[in-house]
């Protein structure tokens, strides 16, 4: 039954989630912005550059991918908006993160249903990089 409570709960949930995001995105964005003025980002970028080049993303995007895969999408978003990515690069990392995010929490939940999670984590990581590579190739064709 839809009552006034339904609307209230939805609105409240929306603002609650946004507030939760604020607590994640702001510090992450701040940390990455400040790190951007130090050599740290350049160093990380150099290490992950070769792996990420396959997806057409800069090395520092690896920080966003790892954060999203382990923690959650919102922390990754704080990083993505701090990097200067093209719209296609944002779409690429978005697809990769959509396939592979919050692996720890979500796998724990799926495990509770009694299924094996290791193959599922592999499917998610593998598909993320496959798609990342495919989108890089596609991006080169389009643009």
């Amino acid at each position: 039954m839809i009552t006034r409570k339904t609307w209230k709960k939805g609105t409240l949930n929306g603002f609650k989630t946004s507030f939760m995001l604020l607590k994640i995105i702001v510090p992450v964005f701040a940390a990455v912005t400040i790190l951007g003025h130090t050599p740290v980002i350049g160093y990380i970028s150099g290490v992950f550059g070769p792996i990420m080049r396959f997806t057409g993303l800069p090395g520092e995007a690896a920080i966003a991918f790892v954060t999203g895969a382990v923690v959650n999408i919102y922390a990754a978003i704080g990083i993505i908006i701090a990097l200067n990515l093209t719209p296609w690069q944002i779409t690429t990392i978005a697809v990769m993160l959509n396939l592979s995010h919050e692996l720890v929490v979500e796998s724990a939940i799926l495990k509770k249903t009694g299924i094996k999670v290791f193959p599922i984590i592999m499917i998610r990581l593998l598909s993320a990089f496959l798609v990342g590579g495919a989108m890089n190739a596609m991006g080169k064709l389009i643009f």
Binding site: G10, T11, N13, G14, S18, I77, T91, N98
Partner: protein, 154 residues
Amino acid sequence: MSWLEIAINIIIGSGKTILIITVILVPFMIILELIRDARLLDKAAVFIIPLMRMFSLPKEGAFPLLAGVLFGITYGSGIIIPYGRSGELSKRDMTLIGVFLAVCHGMVEDTLIFAAIGAKWWVLVIIRVIFGILAISVAAKISFLKKDQQEKTI
């Protein structure tokens, strides 16, 4: 760049994103509650049963599948876990649903949030659905997951 400029950059940069996300998220959460309270999920489940038959999944799986696709694994878990445990679905069925959901879940929220920071939303949806179907097709072919050899969970 001075510290003041960096601070302003942080406030504007993250503030803009939070604002866009809030504008998208609040109506979305209201719609989710409306769907939940109007029990629309039960009704919508009917529409995906023919699709599920392609993978010889029973109609009991429609509800947890739809809940995961729409609400996400974390939100939908309240529905998904009891189904996994009830034994209503075989281990084979639950695994197939799990494989699909691992790739395709929280389709509305995840898509909207990335669209808010400039990603092309249709690319996100199309690629996830393709991979979800691919993953479930491959899983359905694996011998120990074949319909005739299923065992009940717990």
